[in-house]
Each structure stands twice: as C-alpha cells, then as structure tokens.
C-alpha cells in the first residue's frame, strides 16, 4: 500500500472521533497544493500528501482549541504541533497527529528559476512525482527536474523528516538529510559582516509591502488580531512604509519567536517578495540551541525564555 493510501486509511479510521482532519488537496495551480479540511470520507478523494504539501497545517490548530481535530503532519508540522502543545496553546490530547516521513517539499521559486526560458510556473500543466524526480508538463514539453534541486532550502538541512511524537505514523522512517542543524547558512550569512548585512536588509526591506503574510503563515504567531505591529496601546512601530518600521516588524517577529521557532520556514515561503526573513529567526534559534540545548518542538518542558537556572553554565557574563 502506498503512503498515500496508508494516510487515507489512517484518516478514515480517525475521522469518526474528530471534527475534521487537516491535510492537503489540489490547489489553484498544479504546482501549489492547498490546505484541505477533511470532514467526511467524501473529502478524502481530494486528499494528497507529498512533494507539494508545503503548507504547515499546524497553523490552524490554536483557533480550533477545544475541539478534537486531526492533522496530517510532515516532520516540520509535527514540530509545530509539539511546540504549540508545550506552550499549552493547544491541548495535545485534542489533536490526533497522523505523521509520515517527508521527502522534502517544493520551492516554487526554484522551479521558476529552473524553468527560466521555458515557461512561468503558472503555465505548468501538471506535475508527476517519480521517485527522486518530478516530471512537469510545460507548453514546451515535459521537463524533468531532480527533487533535491527544487526542494525548499530547509529540506536540505532537515534533521526531523519524520513527524515526531505522532499518534499514528505511516510509512518507514526516513534518515535525516543531515545529522544536526549546524546553522552553517547562518554562520556564512553572519560572516558577511555587519556593514554588508545592514545594506542587505536595507535593500530587502525596501521591497517589503507590509502585507504580514509572514506573520499570518506562522503557526506560532498566535497573537493574530492583537499583534503589536498594528496597535497603538502599546505603540511599538509606526504604520509607515519606511525601512526602519518594516525592519522593526521583522525584529519583533524574530524576538517573539526566539526559543519557539521550529524553523518550518512558512514565513519565508509566504513572503510574496521572497525576502529571506527566516534568517533572523534561525539566528536566534541557533543562539537558543547553543545556550540552552533547546530544539523547539522536539524538546519538552518550559521554553527556555520562560524559565531560568540560577547558575547558567553557558552564559559568560561580562566581567566588568
């Protein structure tokens, strides 16, 4: 039985006890799947999971707190579920996690780059998964691309491809892409130096249109309508189109996620302008992992910034 079928039968078995199961179904374009809310067996025919299952279904869980729901989870998604549960933003027992081993997910921007001169991603007629490759029907004929070349960056450094702590796990556990997230990308980025990076963010943030898609896609941004980016009490940032205001929003997002971000990358994926906002969060995640050995969404216990040790062996204080 294929993983697809196994997932369907797992969903089917769980549905009677749940108000819905969140998975993925066909999206507006062949390259884009959309979240699917499965309420009855009839919805199952639209379900599919695989290379296009980019969205993090954990996003919807906090709003559904109080009812029993199921969620089909990649490794990333399961970490979000774990972190939400650790922070009691959801009740873990209310959520039925159906996990599977993730082979990586598509980055449509990379497909666009690969198809440069062939067609726009929106013109692709269909996508067929074929082992480690995908076949795309384009107006100029079939184009075959290796999955690893068009997978999201995060997949290239994935240490938790399998949905951890799932209630049901289908398929065979995959080996992680790397043994640990060494944050080599962040180290390399930081090595460019503050002057260059300042200019980098000035340029990137000048493109920001303040749509807040990054925030809205983040499964751990639970403030929603009460985000301090849009409030006067307290009034943290102005409503201008200025770079400092826009940059400061990213700072807020990153600081609010420090010790919490699971690195699912939905913020960066959702950005319509392709601004690499995940970098800021990963910089803080690296710091938190180094200081407190805390991997959000995997570790249990109080998140590191909501607790303390009287002696902090890893913190070298300024000896003035």
């Amino acid at each position: 039985m294929s993983i697809q079928d196994e997932l369907k039968s797992a969903i089917k078995a769980a549905l009677p006890d749940l108000s819905c199961v969140i998975g993925w179904g066909a999206g507006p374009e062949p390259l884009r799947a959309a979240p699917l809310f499965i309420r009855g067996e009839a919805d199952l025919q639209n379900f599919s999971a695989g290379f296009l299952s980019v969205n993090n279904p954990a996003l919807y869980l906090p709003a559904l707190k109080g009812s029993k729901v199921g969620v089909v989870a990649k490794g990333c998604d399961a970490r979000s579920v774990g972190q939400l549960a650790t922070e009691t933003l959801i009740i873990r027992e209310e959520v039925h996690v159906i996990g599977y081993p993730c082979e990586g997910v598509i980055d449509v921007d990379k497909v666009a780059a690969a198809l440069a001169g062939v067609c726009e991603p929106g013109e692709v007629g269909a996508l067929r998964e074929d082992g480690d490759n995908v076949a795309l029907d384009t107006p100029k004929g079939e184009v075959r691309l290796a999955k690893k070349d068009i997978a999201a960056d995060k997949c290239g450094r994935c240490i938790f491809p399998n949905a951890e702590n799932a209630d049901v796990f289908v398929g065979i556990r995959r080996a992680p892409t790397v043994v640990e997230d060494a944050y080599a990308d962040i180290a390399a980025f930081e090595a460019r130096g503050t002057e260059e990076l300042k200019a980098f963010w000035e340029k990137e943030m000048s493109r920001c249109i303040r749509c807040y898609a990054c925030r809205n896609a983040c499964p751990l941004c639970v403030c929603r309508d009460h985000c301090i980016a849009a409030s006067r009490e307290p009034h943290w940032i102005g409503q201008t189109d200025d770079v400092p205001d826009k940059l400061f929003f990213q700072v807020i997002h990153a600081v609010h996620l420090s010790g919490r971000c699971t690195g699912c990358g939905e913020c960066e994926r959702a950005c319509p302008l392709g601004i690499p906002v995940l970098k800021l969060k990963r910089a803080l995640s690296r710091r938190v992992e180094n200081l407190f050995g805390y991997k959000a969404g995997i570790a249990t216990g109080t998140p590191p910034l909501l607790t303390f040790n009287i002696e902090e062996s890893t913190i070298k204080e300024r000896d003035w």
Binding site: V222, C223, H226, I228, E233, P234, L306, T307
Partner: protein
C-alpha cells in the same frame, strides 16, 4: 496636557556644573510644556510652595522636577503635587544631580545632558495616567529574626506597644554575642546582669512567641502580609517536657564536644544547656558529638531524664505564620583570623580571640572567671592585645573598621589588671578609635590608671619561645622594632556579617553589600528601613556597631515597625500590572513567569484570559516584558511610557 518643569539648583550642587536656567529655557520648547523655570531648592518648603503655586496659576496637569535622585525625593514631590490638587502620579523626576552634576564638571555637556533627561521625563509624563491606591488589611504581628541584644530590644519595644511578636533565634538560646561578654565598656558593668533580665522579659512577655534553635525557611507575601515559614530544628529534646534541670548534661558520657557558647574554651557535653541563664533554659543535643548518632548506642540522657523528654528520632518541624513586618537583627560573626600565618594561624594555643578571652574572664565561663593559659592552665603575667586583626586590612578583604575593638580591648586590659593585679598588658594598635560618650576617657584610664602599655604599630610576627610567645611588632611613634614576651596573646578580631546573611537577604528580598551587611534604605535618613517595604534592620547585621548603638537601632526598628503596624489598612502601590482583556489571547506566558503567582487564568465568555491579583502583584513588570501582544501592562512603566523615553533619545 499642560506640563510645568522645575529645574532645581540644589544650591550649588547642581547649579555649580549645570546651567539650570539654560535647561529651563530649552525645556520650555518640549511638547506640552507650558511653564518652565529654575528654582533654588525644589525640595525645601519655598520650593514646594512654588511648584504648588505654579500648578494653580498655570493650570498645570503634570509636573517635572529635575533635581536629585527619585530614590530620594520622589515621595516628597509626589506629596507636593498632591497638595496642588493633582494625582501624585502626574509627576516625573529627572535625576540631574547624582547622574549629572556630581559625576562630571563639563558645564556644556552637563547642561545638555540635563536638558535631555528633562526631555525624557516630560515625554514619559505625557503618557502618565492618574493612579489610585487600593487599601488592604494589615497583619498586626512582627517577626524579629535574631535574638541578640538588638533583636531583644526590638521585640520588647514592639511587644510593649501591643504588637504580637514572633522571635526566631538560630542558636538554642537568645542573648547573642552580648550574652558571651563578661563586662561591657565603658561602665564595666556585668553584661549578663543587664542583659539577663531582658532575656527573661522576652520569655515571659505575653505578646512574644520565641522560636529558639529555629531558622527562617521561606518568606513570601508583601508588606503588611508576609507569609513566613519557620524551621524548628530538631533539638532531640522535647522542650515541652524539659525542665532545664541539667541532669542529662551531667551524665552525658560524650565530654569532648565543641562548646559553641564558650567559643571552644574547654570542651562540653553532647547534650547541653548553653549557659546557666539561657533562655529558653532547655537542653538540646549536638548530633555531631552524640554517641547515639555516631555510634548508634548510648541513650544515657534518655535514661536519666526525669521527664522523658529526650527523643532521638525528632525531626525538623515547620511553622507557618503570617506577619505584617519583619525586623532582621542577625548580628555578626568574628572573622576567621587563622588566615594570618604571622599570628600562628591557630597553631599556638595561647593565642586566643577576644571573645574567647571574654569567656575566660566570665565567672560563669569554663574557667570560672580565672584567666588561664590554654596550654598549661597557668596564670599569665604579660598579656599582649593585638588590635585590628581582620579589621582595616584590605589584604584579607576586610578594609573596614569594626568599630568596637578599640573599646573592648581597653576594657579587657582593665579586667586583666583587676583579675591579676601584678600583670602587665600591652596593646598594639593602629589608631585608638573612641568617639562615644565616655569612651575616650575610658581609653585614657586604661593607660593612666591601669598602666596598660599602648604601642602604636602592627604586629608582624608571633612565635613561641621557651613556653612563651614572642610578639614582634613596629612602634611607629618611637620608630623601631619592639619585642614583647607574652604569656598570652589576645587578638582583637574584627567582625563580619553573620554566616548566612546573603542567603537571608535573598529570602527577604533586601540588598546586601559586598561584605554581606544588609543595605539600609538610605545611609542617613533611613538607617533602619530597607528598600523592601515592611523589612527593617537592627544591630550589627546592617554594619558593625557596639551595644548602645545596637540597642538604639533595635528601638528604632521597633518604632518603624510599630508605626507601620499601627495602621489597620495599608495603601497598595498602584504601580502594578493590569490586563487588557481584549488583547489577551490567554497564552499563559505571564502566568508562567510571574515570581509572585500574582496572575491567574480566568474564563471570560468561554475564552481564557489572564487576570492580575492586585494585592499580590509587586510591580516588577516581568509579565509586561513577556506578553507578546503587550496585553498586560505595568502601570506607570507601560511599554508606551518607556518607548516615549527611548524615542526622546532617538536620533533617527
């Protein structure tokens, strides 16, 4: 808002290095500032009156005073503003003395900095809101920690004023260091004769409950309503049954216990009553020395006890009490002088501490009041006193003067002559510090009438020579080396904060200095208060002092506590957190971090929300910094108020 700004000269304290009129001119241009002036002394009556008059004349709705630190005069000006008819929180202070005029002489830079501090204060004030305190009832009970003379005085004064007093003493008896002294300076009256009756008063006072051999385990709560947990350490003797007959101490076969009360001058038994006048006069077992605990068999004391009070299985017990105020009177300990290799580091039995010497002088001490050399029991003829041992000595981390050693050394020299008329005392000293009533006269008498030889200089070495100790030192007045053959050397060891002081300070949430002495609220004006409301200090725990000063401070602390607890209701500080329920998403992070458990989850139409328990909140603002939506805000230090200060400084 109509803001008035007042720039204080503080005489020349500020005006000497700040152009106060210039600051006032600049402040006039700040947003919402309608009135700005400089003033000679803002805190003095004419200054306060000028503020009040300006509020009325110009219809001010907020006031900024730029003067000294708000830790000093914020309450003063808040009251003045209140007298002018404004809410006391419609006031901000800019600290242009401690943070400006006193730390730099550059007039231009100081003036500019002062103006910016005023700008920050005015920017914050624009967002201040009227705050009103709430009243809460007070527990009319006082906790006194430490049963030395300072604690005894505080407890008796408070009890006499009608307060219920709980006294906690670490040792099995109260009396503290004073109980160990033979006589006291400068009157040379018997220490236990004057202290003893006070100790009895503590035991008999209907308002005082004494927990001896007990320690403070935990403190929570806040002024007026502290919750205290006391650990009653296991004495292995049921004190309800013990009559203090002392039979057990006579029969105890373990006779080599360290005698804590007698400073180790001679051994004692494992079951002890510290001294005949002990309060409470009850026996307790020192487990480290008891054969029952070390060898698993003995049981002599249990057998001889006529009331069957001995209970080897006794465990520590805990008592919970609610008190309204706390007096810390934990005293001092002698510094461990054995760090001094030049004095033998404890190797020579005939080098003793001043406190050991007191026990030798005491008629109720282990030598029956006879001065005997510990080595051979002989009466010494030449006694050398060495002052400033671990006092005024930065090399051992004790740079401060212990204050009382000059005087007790003079007293001990006098007593030596009284005990042994043909003896000769030598005192090596750095300076004679005797600034008290009758003190200087006393130090003259010891030299002029009692013939003690005072040598100004430090002792460089003490070493044994033919049954005697050779004391070598400098005589800085005569110039040259001095050597004295001593039969006995008494070290005037300085004091340090009692062991465990920092840990206690942490429990009480009060500050302590680098030596472990507790910090008073203000070095001059709040000598017995701390910065934690409801916690007061008495005696040497605040800094070393002699008996009269300790007693005075005990009374002072009691007066402060009585003043506090005489009220039925206290006003709560309204600078506490509050939740905007619309913004709260019920994420519980504030509940998770609050150190005081002052936030609870409530259900609002099916949605979880945070709620601050107003009487429990201490106003630290940790929740405010934790809440991602800023739904919980600390009044008077809201995000917007702090942001306004930041923005007032921003260049971009």
């Amino acid at each position: 808002m109509k803001i008035g700004v007042f720039i204080c000269h503080c005489g020349s304290n500020i005006a000497g290095t700040v152009d106060c009129a210039g600051v006032a001119r600049r402040a006039a241009a700040y947003p919402d500032v309608v009135y700005s002036t400089d003033i000679m002394y803002a805190c003095a009556e004419p200054g306060q009156d000028a503020v009040i008059a300006a509020v009325k004349e110009h219809g001010l709705t907020g006031v900024v005073v730029a003067s000294c630190t708000p830790r000093m005069h914020e309450p003063t000006f808040r009251k003045a503003v209140e007298r002018a008819g404004l809410n006391r929180y419609m006031f901000e202070m800019a600290n242009i003395r401690e943070h400006v005029s006193w730390i730099g002489k550059d007039m231009e830079a100081n003036t500019n900095k002062a103006a910016e501090l005023v700008r920050m204060a005015a920017a914050k004030l624009r967002l201040n809101r009227e705050l009103k305190p709430k009243s809460f009832p007070v527990t009319k009970r006082l906790l006194v920690i430490g049963g030395g003379v300072a604690g005894i005085q505080a407890a008796l004064d408070a009890a006499e004023a009608g307060l219920e007093v709980i006294m906690v003493e670490k040792q099995p008896t109260i009396g503290g260091k004073m109980a160990k002294l033979d006589k006291t300076f400068p009157t040379v009256d018997c220490s236990s004769c004057i202290l003893g009756p006070r100790m009895v008063d503590v035991a008999q006072h209907p308002n005082i409950t004494l927990y001896a051999y007990s320690e403070l385990e935990e403190v929570s709560g806040y002024v007026g309503n502290f919750d205290v947990k006391i650990r009653k350490k296991a004495t292995c003797v049921d004190w309800d049954k013990c009559t203090g007959c002392g039979l057990c101490t006579e029969k105890c076969p373990s006779k080599k216990s360290y005698d804590r009360f007698n400073e180790g001058v001679g051994p004692t038994t494992a079951i002890i009553i510290p001294f005949p006048q002990a309060i409470p006069k009850k026996a307790s077992i020192e487990r480290d020395y008891c054969r029952m605990f070390n060898q698993g068999k003995c049981g002599v004391c249990a057998k001889v006890c006529p009331t069957g009070a001995v209970d080897y299985a006794m465990q520590d017990e805990f008592v919970d009490v609610k008190v309204g105020g706390i007096v810390a009177a934990t005293g001092y300990d002698l510094v461990d002088w054995t760090v001094y290799g030049e004095y033998g580091a404890g190797r020579y039995p005939d080098v003793v501490t001043s406190l050991q010497y007191e026990r030798m002088l005491s008629a109720s001490g282990p030598t029956g009041g006879h001065i005997k050399r510990p080595s051979d029991g002989k009466e010494p003829k030449n006694v050398v006193f060495v002052q400033c041992v671990a006092s005024r000595d930065p090399s051992v981390g004790r740079p401060y003067c212990s204050g009382f050693c000059c005087m007790y050394t003079a007293k001990q020299a006098i007593l030596t002559k009284d005990h042994i008329p043909d003896s000769q005392s030598y005192v090596f000293y750095m300076d004679i510090r005797s600034p008290g009533k009758g003190y200087d006269e006393f130090t003259r008498r010891v030299q002029e009438e009692y013939g003690a030889k005072y040598i100004r200089g430090r002792v460089s070495m003490i070493y044994p020579k033919g049954g005697k100790l050779l004391v070598r030192g400098a005589d800085t007045l005569m110039g040259g080396q001095v050597e004295v053959e001593a039969d006995l050397v008494v070290l005037a060891v300085g004091g340090e904060a009692a062991a465990g002081s920092p840990a206690l300070a942490e429990k009480l949430r009060i500050s302590y200095d680098g030596y472990g002495f507790f910090m008073e609220g203000h070095p001059k004006l709040k000598p017995v208060e701390t910065n934690t409301a409801g916690v007061f200090l008495a005696g040497a725990c605040q800094g070393l002092k002699d008996i009269p000063s300790s007693v005075a401070q005990g009374s002072a602390a009691a007066a402060k506590a009585i003043g506090l607890l005489s009220r039925n209701m206290l006003d709560s500080d309204p600078q506490i957190a509050s939740v905007s329920v619309n913004r709260c998403v019920g994420c519980r992070k504030c509940i998770e971090v609050c150190p005081f458990k002052a936030i609870q989850e409530i259900d609002m139409r099916g949605l979880p929300k945070a709620e601050v328990i107003e009487t429990v909140c201490q106003g630290c603002g940790l929740c405010n910094a934790t809440c991602p939506q800023g739904a919980i805000q600390l009044s008077h230090f809201t995000d917007n108020q702090i942001l306004a200060e930041v923005e007032a400084l921003c260049r971009f």
